[in-house]
Amino acid sequence: MPHFAIIAVSILFDGLAYAMFLFITSVGLSVTMGLMGFVNLAHGAFAMAGGYIVVSLTRTLGIGFIPSLLIAAVTVGAVSVVFERGLYRRLYKATDLEQVLLTIGLAFMAIATATYFYGPIPKSVPLPLWLQGDIDLGFRTFPSYRAFLIVLGLFLICVLWYGFERTNIGAKIRAAVDNRRMAESVGINVDLLFTLTFAVGSGLAALGGGLAIQLFGLSPSFAVLYLVLFLIVVAVGGLGSLKGTLLAALVLGVFDTAGKYLLADAGGFFVFAITVLVLLVKPAGFYGRE
């Protein structure tokens, strides 16, 4: 197979895996920001928390990787409800700036706590045998883990798509994102809807955090470092849009990977250049509402 084609396939494969991670972790943020207009910069901290729970479960309690992912997602989702009801609720009417500051403060507290309990050195996680190693497709081998990530991502996309487009609750969420006041006047309990979406979104973030360990290693600064990426995916995709988050994740994931492959030093540049270009032309993102 010609050299450039191999590179192209590698970029697509790795880019797709990265995009799946971005999508899984960011989709919750997009929907909650679109639904409630609440700027939650602690979202990265939820992902980080999920990651550390997986680390503890697998390393200290010997629980398998996949079950740990599930437990982490459910736990963080449940705990996030406490945050939402107890704290965030008070700031729905507050200014953007206040929401930014509050959630950054929470993120800092989370990072400090993680540093205290786990230390600053990046952690890794033991993977089951079938996720280690590679899949051989002849012209190139592909890491099984990344393949798993892609498959899992596609599966979740289908589940979320179904939930969003085909169920009653999904319809209510879409209605509330579109026009909250009207949805409320039609009798939709937007508050409850938001708590539910927030829990699912945070749970997915935790899942993403757990999945990220094998890709990037997990250290406390994850909460802020990758937050920037999540925010970019959400902004470029458009608030409250599943399609938008997916498209943004794909575009940014593939281009970032391509950048890092082809221009090692300046690789990171692309993501931000694309962000600026997209937002200048479509300030509300691909599928956002003006």
Binding site: M33, L101, G105, A112, T115, I232, F272
Partner: protein, 346 residues
């Protein structure tokens, strides 16, 4: 007869008096009041009381200047951005490159150059970006700062990359005042620059232009409706703010004799915002209070344990948003109003 209607039967003398009072009120608010001398007295006192902490003192004053630049756009015009470090970094690197690549080490002219370059970038980026608000603007400004950093990384031959440009020694001030090892001259130098900048910022903020900024912050819809050229005003204040941030960055390089790409970090943008919020936005001296409190606390606490410091700052932010939204100066104001009300009751 409506009870809410106040009597409108007044003599012309009374009317003239009411007008005088109104005019006097507006003028009086902009006069120099004695508490304004306080920060300067304290700064000079610090010079004599803490002669061995003058390097740190210089850093604090630089942060005050940086926070002051942010107050112009955040506190007065109400624009929230996440990339103000971009201008700090541009100023820092302007001075750094002048010394490292062009051998130009005269301090004051370097600062002017830093201000001009930052202002230019501020004007251009502001013209494009200030058409947006909210998350879009946050992301655009953040991305701009990161892209500048990445560009510096790309040309690490010029910028020194993350290792930076060391050994950037500046010439004596006015060709006369040499720099001592303990930062004494530097402290007074930075204090002088800060005083000069504050003089100008104070005039701007109390001018009709400053009033228009407040109007844009309070109700931009109304401003459009009365014919205010909102975008032009915002780009203007953004340019000025960038220039001042550039000066702060230039002073940073001059004080440290060193500059690295970390001056563009998101951390820097976040830090200066926290400082300003803690002190209180839109109050001119909030930058002073916030920067001093933050830097002093950080100096003490992060030496004990960086983790506790980070936790503490996070907690402080959360508490500030929940209970003290207008910062320390806001708390003082509230306390002042509380006590004056109590006095009236007695």
């Amino acid at each position: 007869m409506a009870a809410s209607e106040t009597t409108s039967v007044t003599t012309s003398a009374e009317r003239a008096q009411a007008r005088e009072r109104a005019a006097e009120y507006l003028l009086s608010r902009h006069r120099f009041r004695w508490p304004e001398a306080l920060p300067w007295l304290l700064a000079i006192a610090a010079y004599f009381l803490f002669p061995d902490r003058m390097t740190f003192g210089g850093q604090v004053l630089i942060m005050v200047l940086f926070a002051l630049s942010l107050d112009l756009i955040l506190g007065y015009a109400g624009i929230v951005t996440l990339g103000h470090a971009a201008f700090f970094g541009i100023g820092a690197y302007t001075v750094g490159l002048l010394i490292a690549r062009l051998g130009w080490s005269e301090p004051l002219s370097s600062l002017v150059a830093a201000a001009l370059v930052s202002a230019l970038i501020g004007m251009i980026s502001g013209w494009f970006l200030l058409r947006y608000r909210g998350l879009t603007l946050l992301m655009l400004t953040l991305a701009t700062a990161i892209m500048l950093q990445e560009t510096g990384n790309l040309r690490s031959d010029l910028s020194g990359g993350y290792d930076g440009l060391p050994g950037l020694v500046i010439s004596p001030l006015f060709g006369v005042f040499d720099y001592d090892l303990y930062g004494h001259t530097n402290y007074l130098y930075v204090l002088g620059v800060l005083a000069a900048v504050l003089f100008f910022v104070r005039r701007i903020v109390y001018s009709p232009f400053g009033q228009a900024l407040t109007g844009i912050r309070e109700n931009v819809r109304r401003m459009h409706a009365i014919g205010s050229p909102v975008h032009r005003r915002l780009v203007t204040v953004y340019t000025i703010s960038a220039a001042i941030a550039g000066i702060a960055g230039g002073l940073f390089t001059q004080t440290n004799a060193y500059v690295t790409l970390t001056v563009f970090d998101f951390d820097v943008s976040a830090k200066v915002m926290v400082m300003l919020i803690l002190g209180g936005t839109g109050r001119l001296y909030g930058a002073f209070v916030g920067a001093v409190v933050y830097m002093v606390l950080e100096d003490h606490l992060s030496k004990m344990s960086p983790t506790f410091w980070q936790f503490g700052i996070g907690l402080l932010l959360v508490l500030a948003v929940l209970f003290a939204r207008r910062g320390v100066l806001g708390l003082f104001e509230d306390a002042g109003q509380y006590f004056s009300r109590k006095r009236k009751q007695l």
